[in-house]
Structures are given as C-alpha cells and as structure tokens.
C-alpha cells in the first residue's frame, strides 16, 4: 500500500534558471491511478522524475507513506518505472529481461523465478520466455516492458508516456491492458501523458498541468463537466470546447462582432449578477455536443438559437462534426449524423445554455 504526498514542490533547472514546476501540491491515495496530463513542456516528466528520485527536488517535500523521500536514493523508494520506448535488452531473452533488475538486487534465484513466472502469467507471456525481443510483436514487447516493472512488486508504478510510440490500434489495446493490470494489482500508479483521451479513459484522478503549474485536480468526469478555467476546458475533450467572446447584460450574453443576444438561464444569471459581471466582458464556453440541431430542442430554446453557415461537415459515423463561425468566432458542433448537412448550407442550431460555462475574460477562470 502506498500514499504519496507532494507538498509545495518546486523545480528550477540551474543551467538556465527555468522553473519547470511551481508549487506542486497533491495527495495521492492508495490504489489510485493518477494521470498527469498537459501539453509538451508543462513539467509532467520533471515531476515524475522527482518522485522517482532521478531529479532533485529544488524545494518542497515528497512523502511516501508519511516518510520524507527527498534524500532517499531512487533504488530505495520502492518504485518501478516504465518509459515511452519500451526498450528491452536486444541480446537477452524475455525471461532475462524481466529477471535482470532483480538479479542486480541480489534476489535469490527461486524468488526471481517465481516473480518472473507470475508476471509472465499475468501478461500472457509464458510461451515467449525464451524468445529474444526481435522475435516478438510490438504489443508483446510492450508487455515485457511492463513485466520488467511488475516483477519489482513495488509500491508505486511510475509511467512516462508508455504508449506514445505505439500505433493507434495497439495504443488502444495496451491502454485497456494497463487498466486491467491496475485492477488486478492495485498498485498506486502515476501515469504521464499529453493525450487527453488517454487521460480521460484511464485516470481515477486527473491532474491537468500547464507551464509547471497545476490547473485542476479531480475525477475525469468532474473536470470535463466543470473545468476551472479556459485552458482546462479547451484541453480536456475532443473536439475542444468552443469559446465565444462577448459582454453580459440583463438580457443575456451579447456575442462580440454581431451583437446577437443569447439568453442565459436564470440560475446562471444569478451567479453572474452576484459576482458583478453585468456589463462586463466574459468568455462563453460551450462543448460541441451541447450545440443542438434537433427541431424539438430548437423549439424549446428559442433564446439560444443561431443561424450557422456550415463551412465543413465531417461525417464521423454515428455523429457529424459541423464547423462554422458565429460572428467570426470559430466553433464546432457535434450532432447526430442523421442530420444531412453539407458545407455551404445555412442551418439553425441552438446552445444548451444550462450546460455552458462563463469565464472571466481577464483571468480566464470559470465564474462560479
């Protein structure tokens, strides 16, 4: 069992004084599968490497099970790691690839044997133990790389983009495999990715990062439904959340550019009023699936309808993505593909204003 606590952690790289991570605070509970997600350079790997002990913590504290880890050597932190290249020793067979780390730690032969065979069983690799990596498929190699971590029987798994070098199909397959593995082993895991789909599907707890600063922590669904700021709203979800600039008054939201008024439900209006946003500029955030084209919805929401000239309509299977503009502000609607629309047509759409969000135009924080 393992609980981690990261308190006020900073990382400054000496060479160029880059502050890669700022005031990182996070509590990780036992058995959690935490995902760090964010764009390239936001400090995901740096944070993971500090937890592993491969990178020094500039200031702040890291605790594992209540024990201060800052000065504990990586090998004594009881962690196991998986990285993105799923690299294996080309001239060792599968068995030795998994056994090597244990051999270094002077485990007894029969203990090594037991652990390697257990891991092989879990991963369905029993038949391949004698093979060299060259004679394995990409997925099998990836599983051996996981096996190298599993045999450690560590308290914490640290994974840095382990699937990023795989093709799309294998990635989906391995994603499921890793989740299955976590269900079975229940090892506290920290998983780094820049892929928001991976993050959403795998995390029990999601940490969204930008520029070395935590933007939001929470369950994927909670973050999706209530993003704390424009960045999180735009980063989590695909296609991304639509944003519209405009101003508020008692009539509703006035779209910048054409002045069209969109009615805001009273519940939301009350919050905006209480926070003194009447007469001010705000950003309206609407998810693509909260833009509708069904006649029933349009009839029920006359205050939030817009006339949209469709630039491109992408048929995705059961749904279509409609690309359009509202007073020069780009947006995407995700509608049922029964609607037969093609580029160039003008149709009526309506926003589900009960599900939309308002953000402060300056701080870009969600108004709540």
């Amino acid at each position: 069992m393992a609980e981690l606590s990261l308190r006020n952690i900073d990382k400054v790289y000496e060479k160029d004084g880059v502050k890669a991570v700022s005031d990182f605070n996070l509590e990780i509970k036992d058995k959690e599968f935490v995902v760090f997600v964010g764009p390239s350079g936001c400090g995901k790997s740096t944070t993971l490497r500090m937890i592993a002990g491969l990178e020094e913590i500039t200031s702040g504290e890291l605790y594992i099970n209540g024990k201060l880890m800052n000065d504990v050597a990586p090998k004594d932190r009881d962690i196991a790691m998986v990285f993105q290249n799923y690299a294996l020793y080309p001239h060792m067979n599968v068995y030795d690839n998994m056994a090597f780390g244990l051999k270094l730690r002077k485990f007894k032969k029969d203990e090594i044997d037991r652990r390697v065979k257990d891991a092989a069983e879990i991963l369905g690799l029993e038949a391949f133990l004698d093979r060299k990596p060259k004679a394995l498929s990409g997925g099998q190699r990836q599983r051996v790389a996981l096996g190298r971590a599993i045999v450690r029987d560590a308290q914490v798994f640290l994974m840095d983009e382990p699937l990023s070098n795989l093709d799309a199909k294998l990635r989906v397959q391995m994603r499921a495999e890793i989740q299955k593995l976590h269900k079975r082993l229940e090892t506290t895991s920290i998983y780094v990715t820049h892929d928001q789909t991976e993050a959403m599907t795998m995390a029990t707890n999601l940490v969204v990062l930008k520029d070395g600063i935590i933007q939001q922590v929470g369950a994927p669904k909670a973050i999706y439904d209530n993003p704390d700021n424009v960045f999180v709203g735009g980063f989590i979800g695909s296609p991304a959340m639509n944003f519209f600039n405009g101003t508020l008054d008692e009539d509703g939201f006035h779209v910048s550019g054409n002045g069209q008024v969109i009615t805001v439900p009273e519940g939301k209006m009350k919050v905006l009023r209480e926070n003194n946003y009447i007469g001010k500029e705000v950003i309206l955030g609407v998810r693509p699936e909260d833009i509708h084209d069904e006649p029933v919805f349009l009839d029920a929401n006359p205050g939030s309808t817009i006339e949209a000239n469709i630039d491109v309509a992408e048929l995705m299977g059961s749904e279509s993505y409609l690309y359009s503009k509202l007073a020069d502000q780009d947006f995407v609607a995700r509608v049922d593909s029964r609607t037969d629309v093609s580029g160039g047509e003008t149709i009526t759409l309506a926003f589900d204003m009960h599900k939309c969000h308002f953000f402060n135009a300056e701080t870009e924080e969600r108004i709540k």
Partner: protein
C-alpha cells in the same frame, strides 16, 4: 581548502587515479566540490584518515580493465605501450557515459552492456561515475538500441540517471590517448551549456567552439569532423558556399559557376566521407563553424 590541505600533506595531488602511476600508493578522496585528490598512504596514519573522512568522501578509483581487449585499449589510452591487438581495430569511437551514483558492482554494468551489444565492447572506466564504451565497427548490428533507449533500460534496472556523450569515429590508434582526454574535457565544457541525456560531439560543436582556447583542441575537432576532406580545399569551399546559400543547391551552383548536378555530387561525396548529413540544420551549423575555425587556423 585544497591549498590548505597541501600545506599539511605535501604529497597531495589533484588528479584521477588513472592519470598517475602507482595509483595504489595513494589514498583517494572526493572533495565537496567533486574534485578527486590523492594523498600518499605513507603520509597518513589512522587518525588522519578518520579525520579526513569527516569532510571528504573516500574514493575507490576507476574499475580496472577486465577482458584482454580492454587491457589493450587501456594500455593504448594510457600510452603505456603500443599494444598488439589480436584483431586490429579498424574504425572505433568512444561513447562516454556518466552515472549519477557509483555502482556497487561493476560486473552488473558489464552484464547490462552485454545485453545491449551482440559482441562485448571494451569498457574503460575513468572513475566510478564515468567511463568510455569503445564501439568498434565490428560490434554494431541493426538490433542495437538508440542511446535514449539504452538510458531507459539502465534507469529502470539500476535506478540511476545515465547520460551518454558520443564521440567521432576514428581509425588512427595513435590518437586514442588524445581522443580519450579530449572526450572528457569537451564533455566537462559541454555540460555547462546543455543537459540533454544524449549528446553527440556534432551537436556539441557550437558550444565547444566558444570554449576553444588552443590550436591543438581546435585541430582535433577539425580533423575528427572533416576526416579525409580536410585537405580537399575545393570540396570544402563548395560546401561552405552551399551552406552560405541557405543550403540551396541551385543557388550555390550558380555562385560556384558549376552545374547543379556536380555540386550535388560534391555534397554527396562530403556526406559519404564525413558521415555527416550536412543537409540537416544542426549538422550544417556544426560543419560551418568548423570550416570557419579551420580558416581561422590556416
């Protein structure tokens, strides 16, 4: 601190154990500033040693060479004598590695390296935290991992931060000694500029040039990089013009009053002889700076 210690222990030297003869006669320490110092054992009694250990870390020195071929390389690098290799190395390069912490057992490292190469490469340790893997042409095979991948497997098994610095291919054995120390010196300089886990001497050139203060270092770099083309003035001039024309072949050909194809042929020849793809920006930059340096020295 070292100066003060020197007043007390007159035999004190600031060196690596492999830089002196009779290394075993010395007691070695690492200072808080990471310098390695040795004091002759006969100058120290038990009390001295205990005292020194209070503020200095005892240092075991480099792991000794093990295989026959390693011993030969070791001799060659330390210029002890011209070794007679059973099979003469033809083309070789040094891969400098550094470890964030010393290994308890160097044979573990050996075993990991053996798992990475089809044929065992020689390893010559500089100290407990760094050394050189000697890659001879014969041991390279297509299954070899990239150095980034090697770092992954090492990190996962050893829980260490490992770094590589890749030197040029050479064929002259009599340069091995200079090459070995050049690798260490240039790495020290480079470390101040860049912290990438894998660096190649080509990437390093712009940085290294800013620190070159003597001709010998510069010449080493020029020869290592330009290889056979170093005396082919015409070829080098074409390459320089090509680079100065933003790597635009047609433009450069016009400037040189030659046919586009002939210039293309020269560029290919340069790439073949130096193994540096001068069409890529980073390589182009390195080649260009080295060409300028050569003009400066000539």
């Amino acid at each position: 601190m070292i100066e003060k210690l020197k007043n007390i222990y007159t035999s004190l030297i600031v060196k690596q154990p492999n830089q002196i003869e009779r290394a075993a006669d010395y007691q070695w320490f690492i200072t808080p500033a990471n310098e390695i110092i040795g004091i002759e054992k006969q100058e120290l009694d038990k009390k001295d040693r205990s005292l020194l250990r209070l503020f200095l870390t005892p240092y075991q020195g480099a792991h000794p060479p093990v295989t026959t071929r390693e011993k030969k390389w070791y001799q060659l690098i330390n210029e002890q004598e011209e070794p007679n290799f059973k099979q003469q190395p033809s083309l070789y390069r040094f891969i400098l590695f550094t470890l964030s912490e010393p290994l308890i057992d160097p044979t573990d490292f050996r075993e990991a390296i053996d798992g990475l190469y089809s044929t065992r490469p020689a390893i010559v340790w500089v100290n407990q935290l760094s050394g050189m893997i000697i890659e001879e042409e014969a041991i390279i095979d297509e299954e070899m991992l990239s150095y980034e991948e090697m770092i992954e497997v090492f990190t996962i098994d050893f829980y260490l931060d490992v770094r590589f610095y890749i030197g040029p291919y050479l064929s002259e054995l009599n340069k091995a000694h200079d090459y070995f120390s050049w690798m260490q010196d240039s790495y020290q300089k480079l470390k101040k500029f860049s912290t990438k886990p894998v660096m190649s001497y080509v990437t390093a050139i712009p940085y290294l040039l800013t620190t070159i203060t003597n001709q010998a270092d510069g010449r080493f770099l020029i020869d290592a990089m330009l290889k056979d083309t170093v005396d082919d003035e015409e070829l080098l001039r074409s390459i320089q013009i090509f680079l100065e024309c933003n790597s635009n072949v047609s433009l450069a050909a016009k400037e040189l009053y030659m046919h586009r194809n002939s210039l293309q042929y020269r560029i290919d020849k340069f790439i073949e002889k130096t193994t540096i793809d001068v069409k890529q920006f980073e390589n182009a930059l390195a080649v260009y700076l080295v060409l300028l340096l050569k003009r400066h020295f000539d």
